[in-house]
Subunit: 197 residues, 2 copies
DNA sequence: CCTGATCCTGACTGATCAGTCAATCGATCG
DNA sequence: CGATCGATTGACTGATCAGTCAGGATCAGG
């Protein structure tokens, strides 16, 4: 695969992010992606076997990085609160860095587990499991209350983060660095106060 | 409109719930709904002007009841914690009473704000606003901390509830009355501990 | 400069499906 | 009885679009 070829593949993926974010996966046509990428229709099928595979690729590219970040945070020697902060910070920074990509992942995959995300349910669950592992450790160390199952706590935590993201995605109010930082602190502060002894 | 006529409309709506829950809104055909309802294809268009209007109707029917429940809880003289408990209980009981309908509402409307729910964004926001009103009152009464904006707290709260619901929807593990009751308590307990002074 | 491979093009096809409509059914009433 | 009108039927149409394919361009190696 030559450098040019790699580039065209990337160009198509990047164009797809913009198109999916703007029109939605189900509503857009493959030709929209080709047009946005400035590439012939057929070339899309040279690099991807279907429209779905494009979304697949975008999701997995990013999600795997997130799973690694969660695992790394879990493995670190920080306090549970700092570990959860690292997770929230990763997700929020992902949005900050590339809002369109995160919109596509959240809206078209994570929150659409029905139509499309069923394929990725296992991957999505891995994220919950990673967060649950952090909570479980904190409970074992006597830092978090044990009434709540780690799985439940993980859902509450992830749910809060994703809902805040969803708010930004659809409320279309401009937000800057301070708001992002504040959101990280507030979510973690709220949920951890709820979980701590 | 005769009684029989009212019934057919209802039969179609109920069939649509089952079909949407099973196949998803985008993936199902109108003929699937007609078949499920045991009714001719054309009759669907006698009662509804489009496939979307069916989903519209299902969503609004239920959502308006929920908005009323939130408003009523807010207006009551209970403690903030009890008010939020009432909201969580309403949503969770809705799922318990009709899981397929709640699956459709959450998956196809609430969590699909992109493709379809944009139409209902305003309605959805009303729910957040109602929850935020409860938090705001609690802050004014000095019961909740003021660092967190009511809107933010509402998103965290609603996000947690919806994520737990989503877990039930997709994990397809059988759950009984005790789990539902436990979930209400745990969510409210966790979030309120995080919000209280 | 030939040859095979890979990249790239866009017109075309085949299937799908939302929505239409002309025709039938059946209840109600004068 | 027969006229009227809403309920009901399902075959049909028109548009859309994912994916194919046959061929042209470009490049690498011999």
């Amino acid at each position: 695969m030559t450098t040019a070829a790699v580039d065209k593949r990337r160009v198509i993926l990047d164009a797809a992010v913009r198109v999916f974010a703007r029109q939605g996966f189900h509503t857009c046509r493959v030709s929209d992606i080709a047009d946005e990428a400035g590439v012939a229709y057929g070339l899309v099928y040279h690099y991807f076997s279907s429209k779905e595979e494009i979304l697949d690729t975008l999701f997995l590219e990013r999600w795997d990085v997130m799973l690694a970040a969660i695992a790394e945070s879990d493995a670190s020697q920080r306090s549970p609160r700092d570990k959860l902060y690292a997770v929230a910070a990763f997700i929020i920074d992902s949005y900050r860095h590339d809002p369109e990509l995160m919109k596509v992942i959240v809206v078209e995959v994570t929150r659409a587990a029905n139509t499309f995300g069923l394929t990725h349910l296992e991957k999505i669950r891995e994220a919950y499991a990673g967060i649950a592992a952090i909570v479980e450790q904190a409970q074992a160390d006597g830092l978090f209350r044990s009434e709540i199952t780690p799985e439940f706590a993980a859902q509450a935590f992830y749910g809060s983060v994703e809902q805040v993201l969803t708010g930004w995605i659809f409320d279309s109010v401009a937000i800057g660095a301070p708001e992002f930082e504040r959101a990280k602190t507030l979510i973690v502060e709220t949920i951890c106060r709820g979980l701590e002894r």
